[in-house]
């Protein structure tokens, strides 16, 4: 059993390009999105993602395959925590073009735009904890379990943050009409 475990270890050594690449392709986008939701800065999120994965590559002989994901997320998180940010988070979203409108009334379209703007602002204004969880759920379609793992909190904590985020947003949405 002992030798099997050892074999498995070298089998999945992150220092092998193929193995590392698989890990990278699996988690890079999620890490990037997660960081982006946190800091609202695409360049910074990109830099941190690269730094974290670079660190994993450089320490490939010290990190287990199983803990690689946790390693990059933790590394990126720590780096972000050290970064100074006093500006209000301004998140920019790429809104996919709306395919159809059931009601072409200009007034209706105007209201839609107002709501869109207001909701985007409200999302950016959400407390970071809520925002990150909410967007990982809505944009990345992560399950609560996955989100809990990524952030390192309990599933209940995820539920609570989602609930609060939704509550804030739906109240706003209700007020606009």
């Amino acid at each position: 059993m002992h030798t099997n475990a050892k074999m498995a270890e070298t089998e999945f050594s992150i220092c092998k390009e193929a193995v590392y690449s698989q890990i990278f392709r699996e988690y890079a986008t999620t890490l990037f999105n997660y960081l982006y939701y946190k800091c609202g800065d695409k360049d910074q999120a990109e830099d941190l993602t690269q730094e974290a994965f670079m660190k994993l590559w450089q320490n490939c002989d010290k990190v287990n395959y199983e803990t690689a994901k946790g390693y990059v997320f933790k590394t990126a998180n720590n780096k972000l925590l050290n970064i100074y940010e006093h500006e209000k988070v301004k998140l920019r979203y790429k809104a996919k073009p709306q395919i159809s409108h059931t009601n072409q009334n200009p007034e209706f379209l105007m209201e839609e735009k107002e709501l869109e703007k207001a909701l985007n602002k409200a999302i950016a204004d959400l407390p970071e904890k809520q925002r990150v969880v909410f967007l990982l759920s809505r944009i990345d379609k992560k399950t609560y379990k996955e989100i809990a793992e990524i952030i390192g909190i309990s599933k209940q904590a995820v539920e609570k943050r989602i609930y609060n985020a939704l509550d804030t947003l739906r109240r706003l949405s209700g007020n606009i009409r």
Binding site: E17, Y20, S21, F24, R25, A28, T29, F32, N33, Y36, K42, D43, A45, E46, D47, T49, Q50, E51, F53, M54, W57, Q58, N78, K79, L81, N82, I83, Y84, E85, H86, R92, Y93, K94, A95, K96, Q98, L115, E116, L119, E128, L135, S137, R138, I139, D140, T143, Y144, Q156, E159, K160, I162, Y163, N164, L166, L169, R170, R171, S173, G174, R177
Partner: protein, 313 residues
């Protein structure tokens, strides 16, 4: 409330048909739907994963980080620059050299709750000295607050400061001080920073200092003897080894620099030296410098042999 099972199921699209019917009867269903629809249209920025992967795999294992095309990778890049320029000097802890003075105004920015934040808050009249994990020192003045993360100090030495403090910095990882006026990054050096009442000034004494100001959108590396200052009212002064730059600065400041650089003394009885000017002058030619500073203001000057210069209308 937060364990509203139906709500979470609805959000994750795992409601059964009957559950959905029940859920739709809720009064807030309409507004919830709008929020849901809205988020369906959101997407995050695109990340070129393949390019990043190739960059990482292509990089030599042991060296510092590099970045693929695009924006700069901040801390490692600047620390490389500083490493090249700064002189090496051994720990000067007991050398008795005047400590650097770091005075920062602006708003306190607290890093979000991290592993082990150290927070020190002083009321007026108090003073407190302390050590960072790497033995670099600080002396915090009254009416000031200082904070840093104990756990990640060995990776990145970042300090958030409001008010006034004195720092003695060992050579090591980039040492960063954050203020709203700008940021200062050093790699074991001596420097002075004054930030008070909208006036932000950095003077490098030893080593090199990377100054980034927000207002002036400036990013400069200062070598020993060089300084940079910027004010709320748009005054900008940059004194470098070979050239001095003034923007919206009082004439007397330029005169002081000229006196020092050219070893002259101004003699003046009638000129208002508070008047504002904008000019650059190099330090190699006194006449050029005089011409650049005085002539635009309509000031005449007369040179005497002993290094005295008289200015007059």
């Amino acid at each position: 409330m937060t364990n509203d099972k139906l709500l979470h199921k609805w959000l994750n699209n795992t409601l059964s048909a009957e559950e959905l019917e029940i859920f739709q009867k809720r009064p807030e269903y309409d507004s919830l739907s709008r929020v849901y629809k809205h988020t369906e249209n959101l997407s995050s920025p695109k990340l070129n994963t393949e390019a990043m992967l190739q960059t990482i795999l292509a990089s030599p294992k042991s060296t510092a980080l590099t970045k693929s095309k695009g924006s700069t990778l901040n801390p490692p890049r600047t620390s490389t620059i500083l490493k090249k320029k700064s002189k090496s000097f051994s720990k000067w802890m007991k050398a008795g050299i005047a400590a650097s003075i770091l005075v920062l105004a602006g708003y306190l920015v607290m890093a979000p709750t991290a592993q082990d934040m150290v927070n020190i808050q002083l009321a007026a009249g108090q003073v407190k000295s302390g050590k960072f994990p790497d033995d670099s020192r600080f002396v915090l003045s009254g009416n000031s607050t200082l904070s840093y993360d104990n756990n990640s100090w060995h990776k990145a030495r970042t300090v958030n400061l409001k008010g006034e403090a004195n720092f003695s910095v060992y050579k090591g990882e980039p040492f960063k001080v954050m203020t709203t006026e700008g940021s200062i990054e050093v790699l074991g050096t001596k420097f002075t920073v004054i930030s008070r009442d909208g006036h932000f000034e950095v003077k490098c004494k030893e080593g090199s200092v990377l100054v980034k100001t927000k207002k002036g959108h400036t990013e400069e590396v200062l070598k020993p003897g060089e300084m940079l200052s910027i004010d709320n009212d748009g005054t900008f002064i940059n004194l470098r080894e070979n050239i001095s730059r003034f923007k919206n600065a009082p004439l007397k400041d330029a005169m002081t620099v000229m006196e020092k650089k050219f070893r002259i003394v101004f003699y003046n009885t009638e000129i208002d030296t508070e008047q504002i000017l904008t000019c650059n002058f190099q330090h190699k030619n006194l006449n050029q410098a005089l011409k650049t500073t005085m002539t635009p203001l309509g000031i005449k000057y007369e040179t005497f042999g002993n290094g005295q210069i008289r200015i007059f209308k």
